[in-house]
């Protein structure tokens, strides 16, 4: 899906989807629905190392790097955060580190969800975006020598 589209195109798509909603209730219902549909992260990824810091709710984020592209998977115990995560994954996953690093995620503002990026929300969306960009940066640096790398340790590997 997102692998064929540019980040900007996916963002535009999301903005268009949200423009159909009249009320905030509808927007939240949609986000909650996205949260419910996001496949749960396998338990082996739900470890401390993959926790995103600074969240009132818990967010786990794992990524891997294949053929020059970063792929994210994530989960949360809170449904709205999970819905927001689902959108971030849809936008950023499957793109190159450079594409991810240069994106400003303007769609969040355009769909009226800026408050979720505010410090006060402490829902970890901001930390989540930062962490996604950190992964991208790390892969970019490593990309000089390797093209296959998996980040987000699993229980097996950490044992």
């Amino acid at each position: 899906m997102s692998e064929e589209k540019t980040i900007a195109a996916t963002e535009k798509e999301i903005v268009e989807e949200f423009s159909l909603f009249d009320s905030w209730d509808d927007k939240y219902e949609y986000i909650i629905d996205l949260g419910k549909k996001l496949p749960p992260l396998e338990d082996r990824f739900k470890i401390n190392e993959n926790k995103v810091k600074g969240c009132q709710s818990t967010v786990w984020l794992a990524s891997d790097f294949r053929e020059g592209k970063v792929f994210f998977k994530a989960d949360s115990d809170a449904m709205i955060v999970k819905g927001l995560i689902s959108m971030l994954i849809r936008v950023l996953s499957g793109h190159t580190p450079d594409e991810i690093l240069s994106d400003k995620l303007d769609f969040i503002r355009e769909i009226g969800m800026t408050t979720h990026l505010a410090q006060t929300r402490s829902n970890g969306l901001l930390s989540m975006v930062k962490q996604m960009k950190h992964f991208a940066l790390a892969y970019k640096i490593k990309n000089g020598s390797i093209t296959e790398y998996e980040h987000g340790r699993t229980e097996n590997k950490s044992n």
Partner: protein
């Protein structure tokens, strides 16, 4: 005999008239009238308090205690009047026992850094409880670590009440301080501080009472309570932020080393030696928070004008009503069922994260607090990541409680 409705009217407060005094209650959030139920975090401010701040900056802004000009005299007089008002409000024996700080947190830290560093030795014991706010945990942890002293914790029962028998067992010859919340910010439990203090004193220990959550709700008489220290914040009593109080018994305060060094707290300074000012100025280094302290007097006046008894009745009515209404919501579990509670309710909802509930309530203009309420050890004790907390003040109404329960039902439906 008076008809009961007349009695009722005489004893209840005019909430509509009170609401008119709080301008923020007129605003809308997300297109709906604000329902502010986060009063345990901070209360809203009446117009009179806002006016007092404006009046100070508009008409007599000056630094206090040192200037000889008219503005300085007026500002000093107004500032010191608040000290007198606080003294009366908590029934302290002397005005110099009232020290202005930035808030409860600084008040507790002041004691930890001055009294604590002088009096706590290796092997000494400090007792707190499971119910404490981080502000009444961390300063003692820092002190205990530094002094190799021991922090002991009074456990709670399932209702969120202190286990007094266990407390008695914890007291001993090594106990130097018991530092305890008067009321829990996370559960609302009112602790039996008089009993706690009596037993602590019998064991030779001092007692600090954290009054952050109690002072706005309960009658505070530090002499009757016989606490050695009492700490609270102005902003939870309809006053400005950034101002707090530390009350301490005079002979203890006099014996304490100074906290921060600088202007105001000195008597004489030479490069060889500095002698310190008398109480309370000894602990008030630098230019204080003049405007907010002055406006705090107006906040106390507001409470006294309405009447603490009336406020308590009103808030307790909301607590009882809200408890009954919330209990009817399937899957909702109230955390903290102490017999004596201040007007706040913590709860969790099956299969719904507190944060989701908080966001969806905010979407309907309802402000509650979600999370661990700066009481992580307490949340761990209940094996929950956090709660949703609704806390009521003088201006809240039963209709607002209905808005809350309606909002909760809608949020639960959206999330299920």
């Amino acid at each position: 005999m008076m008809p009961s409705s007349t009695i009722q009217k005489a004893q209840t407060l005019d909430v509509i008239a009170i609401r008119k005094q709080f301008p923020v209650l007129n605003r809308e959030v997300k297109g709906r009238p604000l329902v502010y139920l986060d009063n345990a975090a901070t209360s809203q401010k009446p117009q009179a308090v806002i006016d007092a701040l404006l009046d100070y900056y508009t008409n007599y802004n000056a630094n206090i205690h040192r200037g000889i000009h008219t503005l300085a005299e007026e500002a000093t007089a107004a500032f010191e009047e608040t000290r007198d008002a606080v003294q009366r409000f908590i029934h302290a024996p002397a005005r110099e026992e009232i020290i202005f700080t930035r808030g409860t947190t600084e008040s507790i830290n002041l004691v930890a850094y001055t009294w604590g560093r002088k009096n706590i030795k290796s092997g000494d014991e400090i007792i707190i409880s499971t119910l404490e706010h981080h502000s009444n945990i961390v300063p003692w942890q820092i002190l205990c670590e530094e002094k190799n002293a021991i922090l002991k914790i009074i456990p709670i029962n399932d209702n969120g009440e202190l286990m007094m028998d266990e407390y008695k067992q914890l007291l001993g010859p090594k106990t130097k301080l018991v530092s305890i919340a008067h009321a829990s910010n996370a559960l609302g439990s009112i602790n039996p501080v008089k009993q706690i203090i009596e037993w602590a004193h019998a064991a030779g220990s001092l007692v600090l009472v954290d009054g952050a959550q109690s002072t706005v709700h309960l009658d505070i008489d530090v002499q009757d309570m016989d606490c050695d220290f009492f700490a609270f914040s102005a902003h939870k009593l309809y006053g400005p932020t950034g101002t707090g109080i530390l009350y301490g018994k005079k002979h203890i305060l006099e014996d304490m080393p100074v906290f921060l060094g600088g202007g105001e707290m000195i008597k004489e300074v030479t490069f060889a030696k500095t002698t310190y000012n008398d109480l309370p100025y000894k602990f008030e280094a630098g230019t204080p928070n003049i405007a907010d302290v002055i406006a705090f007097k107006t906040a106390l006046q507001f409470i006294e004008d309405v009447g603490k008894e009336k406020i308590r009745k009103h808030e307790q009515d909301l607590l009882v009503y809200a408890t009954a209404q919330l209990e009817q919501i399937p899957g909702l579990r109230i955390i903290g069922r102490a017999k004596e509670k201040v007007s706040l309710i913590s709860f969790v909802i099956d299969k719904a994260h507190p944060q989701d509930i908080g966001i969806l309530l905010d979407n309907r203009g309802i402000a509650v607090r979600t999370g661990h309420h700066c009481a992580e050890p307490l949340m761990k004790c209940y094996h929950i990541p956090g709660t949703i907390r609704a806390s009521f003040a003088v201006y809240n109404t039963r209709e607002e409680v209905d808005e809350l329960t309606g909002g909760l039902r809608k949020a639960i439906k959206m999330l299920s």
